[in-house]
């Protein structure tokens, strides 16, 4: 069985936000300030004119980190949040009671309330849409013009993501919390 993860060449990101749009389109995420599964964070340039560090301005594409030790799953009182057999952290809307404890527990702000089902929603690596139809890429990956994202099976040593992670240095967000995220930011 696969163990899906994603590597991000985040320094290639140009903040075009095609990924945000593709995600909304593919997964039917509603418009609205709080309704998003993925986003691009903007770290502004540091320093005062004329000594402004252009290199310090970076874009950080982000989403659910699909942690192997997910705080959101631990705190769910009805096991509505669960790991799929592919290691994807998912929410069963039938069991979700909307206590929003998982939103509080997530260190990455990756969850929100879906106004269609009035339950908690989050990134699923397009498992219900693209992967279920036999695709091997996520919508955000497929649409990215600068090839920031590489999605694949971490347990397959021949997969593109495994090859990339074997060759490049990377960091994971808030790794010190012991969440074991499966999003890898290539340095």
């Amino acid at each position: 069985m696969a163990r899906y993860g994603m590597a991000l060449n985040y320094k290639n990101c140009i903040n075009c936000r095609a990924c945000e749009t593709a995600c909304k389109e593919e997964n039917g995420v509603l418009l609205g300030k709080d309704n998003y599964r993925i986003w691009v964070g903007v770290k502004e340039a540091e320093g005062l004119f004329p000594n402004i560090s252009i290199a310090s301005q970076t874009y950080h594409p982000s989403q659910c980190q699909h942690c192997s030790n997910a705080p959101c799953q631990l705190v769910c009182p009805t096991n509505a949040t669960y790991y799929s057999k592919d290691g994807i952290v998912k929410v069963d809307p039938v069991k979700c009671i909307l206590c929003t404890y998982c939103i509080n527990a997530c260190p990455y702000d990756a969850r929100y309330v879906d106004q269609r089902t009035i339950t908690v929603d989050k990134c699923t690596f397009c498992s219900d849409t693209r992967l279920a139809n036999g695709e091997t890429t996520t919508a955000c990956q497929a649409t990215c013009p600068t090839k920031v994202r590489v999605f694949g099976d971490l347990d397959d040593p021949t997969s593109e993501i495994s090859q990339l992670l074997a060759k490049k240095e990377y960091r994971r967000v808030k790794e010190h919390l012991g969440t074991e995220p499966k999003l890898f930011y290539i340095l």
Partner: protein, 388 residues
């Protein structure tokens, strides 16, 4: 148990204090109904909670009510579980108060949880045993059953052995439930200002303080400040217990702040500094909730019972701020630290102010408590029965 007609139930002496309390009760019940209608019409859109600040005043008020309930249960157990004679007189009144306050808490949380019926089903079918909310909810359900049976054998079909049995059960399950409620916040690894052992322990301590304040308020109203000698003896002793508990709380808080600020750990030191600079903390929690009652008890050597009753009003206001800050301060530090839109600044400490519907439901819960207490006082004899 008294058999009374509807007319007698709603008859009361028309003193200014009684009329004021009646007005407050009806106004708060009306507010609760209005808030409930707004929630039914608009769902969570009626509240000012957001993706970044998903819990608000209603969670605070739920905690406020269950803290009150557990506190009353613990304080009442001094008498009829641990057998200290002077405290046996408070048993029925305190346990009635415990049932009433937790029922109000459940009424408030029912309008905060998005799918309460689903909760009842899947809490049983697919229990999340690693979830503090699951344990808290399940144990509080058991606790309510225990204290209802305890009250039944105290006030309706008097049986000291059974009331003591269910009293011990209610106390133990209540303590477990309440510390689990603290763990709901203490288990949040993503929130360094809340994560750790402090809240599960602090919840028990602040529950006992809340229980003392409520006993003072209930007896102050019951006897209109003209306390019989037996009650006065009990209240003086309770005042001494309250003073000691407040001293421990001030000590706890001081060390919580010092350890949080020391070394300025990321996300923790700055969050705690931000929260203690806010008037909600230094005026609400510290002055109203701790220092005014503590000073009165200290200066009067715990003998100024009437002043302590008045201080219990400020104490309960302080307890409210403790519960409000508990939720807000936990969520203060943003989990998304980078801006995601051109038209915003980089995220900083989160702002939150409750909506009308949140105020109406949250404070309306107090109206439910006042009304149920009025009914309980009429229907049951909440004073000590001589056969007890």
């Amino acid at each position: 148990m008294n058999t009374i007609s509807l007319k007698k139930l709603f008859y009361f002496e028309k003193t200014p204090l009684n009329l004021l309390m009646a007005f407050i009760t009806v106004a708060l019940l009306g507010a609760f109904a209005a808030g409930a209608v707004l929630y039914i019409l608009h769902g969570h859109h009626a509240y000012n909670v957001t993706r970044q600040h998903p819990w608000g005043l209603l969670i605070s008020m739920y905690v406020f009510f269950v803290v009150s309930s557990t506190g009353l249960c613990i304080i009442s157990s001094i008498g009829h579980v641990f057998g200290i004679p002077e405290f046996q007189q408070i048993g029925k009144r305190a346990i009635a108060g415990a049932i009433i306050t937790i029922s109000s808490g459940f009424a408030v949380i029912a309008l905060e949880i998005g799918h309460p019926v689903t909760m009842l089903i899947y809490n049983v079918l697919t229990p999340g045993l690693t979830s503090a909310i699951w344990w808290m909810g399940t144990l509080y359900g058991m606790y309510l059953a225990f204290i209802c049976l305890e009250f039944f054998f105290l006030a309706i079909k008097e049986n000291h052995t059974l009331s003591k049995f269910f009293g011990i059960g209610g106390l133990l399950v209540g303590l477990a439930a309440h510390s689990n409620l603290g763990a709901v916040f203490g288990f949040l690894v993503s929130r360094p200002s809340a994560n750790g052992v402090f809240y599960p322990v602090y919840f028990i301590l602040s529950a006992m303080i809340t229980g003392c304040y409520l006993i003072f308020l209930m007896y102050g109203f019951r006897y209109k400040m003209n306390f019989p000698a037996k009650v006065e003896v009990m209240l003086v002793k309770l005042s001494k217990i309250l003073g000691m508990l407040l001293a421990v709380l001030i000590f706890f808080e001081a060390w919580k702040i010092l350890t949080a600020v020391y070394g300025d750990l990321p996300e923790r030191g700055a969050t705690i500094m931000h929260s203690i600079k806010h008037p909600n903390f230094w005026f609400g929690e510290l002055i109203l909730g701790m220092l005014i009652p503590f000073t009165i008890i200290l200066v009067s050597n715990a003998k100024a019972i009437k002043a302590t009753v008045y201080a219990s009003i400020t104490g309960m206001v302080g307890i409210f701020f403790m519960r409000y800050d508990l939720v807000h301060d936990t969520l203060l530090y943003p989990m998304r630290t980078l801006k995601i839109s051109e038209y915003e600044l980089a995220p900083t400490f989160l702002e939150y102010f409750p909506s009308f519907a949140e105020f109406a439901i949250g404070f309306g819960g107090i109206g439910i408590s006042l009304f149920l207490y009025y009914v309980a006082d009429k229907v049951f004899n909440l004073d000590e029965s001589h056969s007890h």
